[in-house]
Amino acid sequence: MVALARVIDSRVLVQLRLLGMAGLAFVVVGAFLVLFGKNPLLAYAEIFRGALGTSYGASEVIVRAIPLMLCAVATALPARMGLVNVGPEGQLHAGALAVTWGALTFGALPRPVFLPALVALGLLGGAIGAFVPALLRVKVGVNETISTLLLNYVIVLLVEHMVRGPWKDPMSFNWPYTPEFPDAARLSTYWGTRIHAGLWFALAAILLFYFTLRFTRWGYELRVIGDNPEAAGRAGIPIGRYTLLAMSIGGALAGLAGMAEICAIQGRLRPGISTGFGYTGFLVSWLALHHPLGIVVMAILLGVLSVGGDSIQISLGLPYATVNIITSLIFFIVLGSRFRRRATA
């Protein structure tokens, strides 16, 4: 019984109750749809039919959950020490930039060397993208929320510049993308779907996140900073160093998501490699209360909404924005709920 009680610890219960409250968002958006003369029940049925009704839909849910999980950990890790990283979108693109540089520069390497090198570049690119705002915070006291938001615009524009300028495929008939990566730079996909090896990166990141926070001194000190920064500072925990590390590791994981998107899904760098994965990943982390298991659940839930969003667009002519409205309302509900404060305050 004691073991059972521990399993159903407060956090898990909180998650379940929040999931129930998320239903409220569907009611509100339902009313909104009725206002615009649309049938909400039809829309919801189509979302779940499109995402879970076919094996293709279900596989696409996993495909989208991969970058969402990585970007969510990118937000969750710094969040556990009280930092708000809204930059996974930019860090994902920074990783993609570094990977593309590698793929276009070392085109002739054998696969067992090439792929790990590209993984390393993805990690590095994303880490740099997050290290900059972390350094600004530590050295100059710049709020990381604002700096990561601003950097998102900068890095995405840099991608636009590169794919339309220096890296443009000469054979592309003016389409904005780089040449296709060599086969040795492509991640494996499985079971005839688009599910790719990035899944292992994402699951490894979640496990690592869980074990580090739970069982290492590093994770313990990180959580102490999050609970009480003043006490942590007085106890001699180097908050600046933790800020740099937590942000950089988080950014590295978002960069890895970028690597997986271009090396598995796209096969080249082009604008729109991410349909807001970074921002949605940020939401996943907050909806999951920055908890590893919750991140898996929420990434799949938002993956369902994302695939379903495409589906209502195609079959009902409803805007994709419908699912974004649902997601942001759930975010509000989580933020406003008492459970959240009891769990993380």
């Binding site: 615009f36 709020n143 900068v154 510049h161 940020f282 805007p319 974004n324 509000f332």
Partner: protein, 304 residues
């Protein structure tokens, strides 16, 4: 060269207008101790509501009213979240941004290529006939004059009136304000909603005067730039004007460089406002801290 200067100054005043509205709105909210990153969303709400109203009525004045209303209503959500439910200010502001982005792209979709009656130009009689100066400063639309007149007005209200004193007291020490018989919650609600109304006007100027069209996500980070500008401006309405003009000039210069076919990547040009904002934070992030309302310190600096 003179033509360029003329275009940058005149264009800067115009392009600086939405940024000034948003910055002034954020100054009011932050002086009352509430950070609202949702300004980005409130601008979108204003731009979209204003555009749709104008498209249906062909009356830009009704559009402006609708924009103010929409911006205020959007920010009311933030006020409810952070004042009544005591939710995290940063997170609630971001939630508001996501919500507005979603709702406006849903509601605004049928209006993407629609043409509207823009806010008319209003030449100030007499003054607009002055050579050079007249054309630069006195031949704009009403929203432009409104923004630059509001800045001193807000400064006067914040500095010299009972209301302004109460608002600032709440932003510095809510507990002391409460002990003095003020209602911090009511004042913070009023400040956040007033800020949202101004953000709505920022949106109105974007869609009804500046771009004269509706595009999904057209605020493009101007709300976040405004939040940063409030810091450079040391939470001061008059210094906000300087910041807004500088950023307006950057936007105007960007258009001029593109229009003159200078061989510079347009994507680099598009980066400049964000990079400039980051550079400003880098230079002044710490030195301007002295002016930060006391109650904001815990919001901006949860971890030091």
């Amino acid at each position: 060269m003179l033509g360029l200067l003329y275009a940058v100054v005149g264009g800067g005043i115009r392009a600086g207008t939405p940024i000034l509205y948003a910055t002034l709105g954020e100054v009011i909210a932050e002086r009352a101790g509430i950070v609202n990153l949702g300004v980005e969303g409130a601008i979108l709400a204003g731009a979209c509501a204003g555009f749709i109203t104008t498209a249906h009525t062909q009356n830009p004045w009704l559009g402006i009213a609708a924009a103010a209303l929409a911006g205020g209503a959007a920010s009311l959500v933030h006020a409810f979240m952070v004042v009544t439910l005591r939710a995290n200010q940063i997170a609630s502001g971001l939630a508001l941004m996501f919500l507005c982005l979603g709702v406006t792209s849903f509601v605004g979709r049928p209006y993407v290529a629609v043409k509207i009656n823009a806010v008319p130009q209003l030449a100030i009689p007499g003054l607009s006939d002055i050579p050079v100066v007249g054309g630069l400063f006195f031949q704009h639309d009403a929203l432009v004059y409104g923004a630059y007149l509001l800045a001193p007005l807000i400064w006067i209200v914040l500095t010299f009136t009972k209301w302004g004193l109460a608002l600032r007291a709440v932003g510095e020490r809510p507990d002391v304000a409460f002990a003095a018989g003020l209602s911090p919650a009511a004042i913070q609600y009023a400040a956040v909603v007033a800020g949202g109304i101004l953000a709505g006007l920022a949106g109105a100027h974007l869609s009804l005067a500046y771009a004269r069209s509706w595009v999904e996500g057209m605020s493009n980070g101007r709300g976040f730039i405004a939040v940063a500008l409030v810091i450079f401006a040391t939470w001061h309405p008059l210094r906000s004007v300087v910041g807004a003009l500088v950023f307006g000039a950057v936007f105007a210069l960007q258009l001029q460089i593109q229009a003159r076919g200078v061989a510079l990547s347009p994507y680099f040009l598009d980066m400049t406002p964000y990079l400039l904002t980051l550079a400003g934070l880098l230079l002044w992030g710490r030195t301007r801290r002295y002016a930060m309302p006391e109650a904001l310190k815990s919001v901006f600096e949860g971890v030091t």
